[in-house]
Symmetry: C2
Subunit: 219 residues, 2 copies
């Protein structure tokens, strides 16, 4: 079995797929696509991804895009450990938690949006960071309210980490990007702390990727 | 069995859930929450939805949010007609098509984002519409490229409409909102034409909802 992921160290969607692969113990190769410099728009990558985003996941020649679709595919490929509950109501809860960041909070802070704000409204670095903090705060606040209704134990759905935790952890990484502390979101902070104690999460963190280290060394 | 959906005539996510319920022939009551005037932030609705978005789906007292999670739950509640393929690769394709709009294109044009652009960057109605057209074009262009790779026949995954078509049809409604023609997206236009020939899609269109008609009558 061969698994290749076109990803990027800073991409939160790439982070999600990386954690899922590591939790399932599936070996994979990650090929970097620098979405900050626009490599995803080059013809070579356009042939890999019609959407021109990362990650693109390739399993024995079959290509899948969108992090949630990829993680769900992984669940079928390697059912254990389960990341998505079998119970219908629990599955819906896990998916809805995932979508708070996947469909609502995170899309607003991606590089293409930040670039478009600069181009269209002349937003400077400070205004763009404020924009990022606003939407990241909204996402964290939603998670905090949801975790107040149903406390993590210690993960969102119970004793084992899964899809929902992967997505919440990604939202916490976004908070780090925009220098947002978690003091107002103690339940989220505690859940993320449990996540990043696990090697699958810790070694998937953007700042632990070779691309980040290379970018830092170059500056 | 009792199904209630808190929705809004203009909400694309409410549209998706409405179509899915109608394709499955499940009776439901829709309770309007006016997200243009901010009704979703009122305490009454905050108790219904911790995320303060529409739609919220309630089945015999059990509450689910996020349109994709709701549609997947409906699939278990009433498996026929199927909206999501059972085959693992086809399922991943359907989900990834859905997520092009759910996770990438549509989140950028919601009322909360348009309001924040006005507040933060002083964007006027024209600038906000241009913003909406930009991101809606991006989503349509992605769908057009994907449908070039694998033509609709006549629906995205074959002879019957499903989750992917529901989401693409929602993207086409967004194009109508921002007065964007589909001349550059002929494959998307044709797929949408097939969708809106079906009563489940046609009667779910935002402009067919009582709330839209009432809002027009009031002007």
């Amino acid at each position: 079995m061969s698994i290749t992921v076109y990803g990027f160290w800073r991409s939160i969607a790439s982070f999600r797929v990386r954690v899922a692969l590591k939790l399932k113990g599936l070996p994979f190769e990650e090929i970097p696509v620098d979405i900050l410099s626009g490599e995803q728009f080059q013809p070579d990558y356009a042939a890999v991804s019609a959407e021109r985003v990362v990650p693109t996941f390739i399993h024995d020649g079959h290509s899948i895009f969108q992090s949630l679709a990829i993680i769900e595919y992984l669940e079928a490929l390697q059912p254990e450990p389960r990341l998505i509950p079998l119970d219908v109501k629990e599955k819906a809860y896990a998916k809805s938690l995932a979508l708070v960041t996947v469909a609502d909070a995170h899309p607003l802070v991606t590089p293409r949006v930040r670039n478009h704000l600069a181009k269209t409204f002349g937003a400077d670095a400070e205004a763009i960071e404020a924009w990022g903090r606003h939407w990241t705060t909204e996402g964290l606040a939603t998670y905090e309210r949801l975790l107040a209704q149903r406390p993590a134990a210690p993960f969102a759905l119970g004793a084992e980490p899964g899809l929902a935790d992967i997505c919440i952890a990604g939202q916490v990484v976004t908070a780090q990007y925009v220098k947002l502390g978690l003091d107002d979101f103690p339940a989220v902070a505690k859940l993320a702390e449990h996540c990043f104690k696990l090697p699958a999460f810790a070694t998937s963190h953007p700042y632990e990727q070779p691309g980040y280290k290379a970018a830092r060394a170059a500056h």
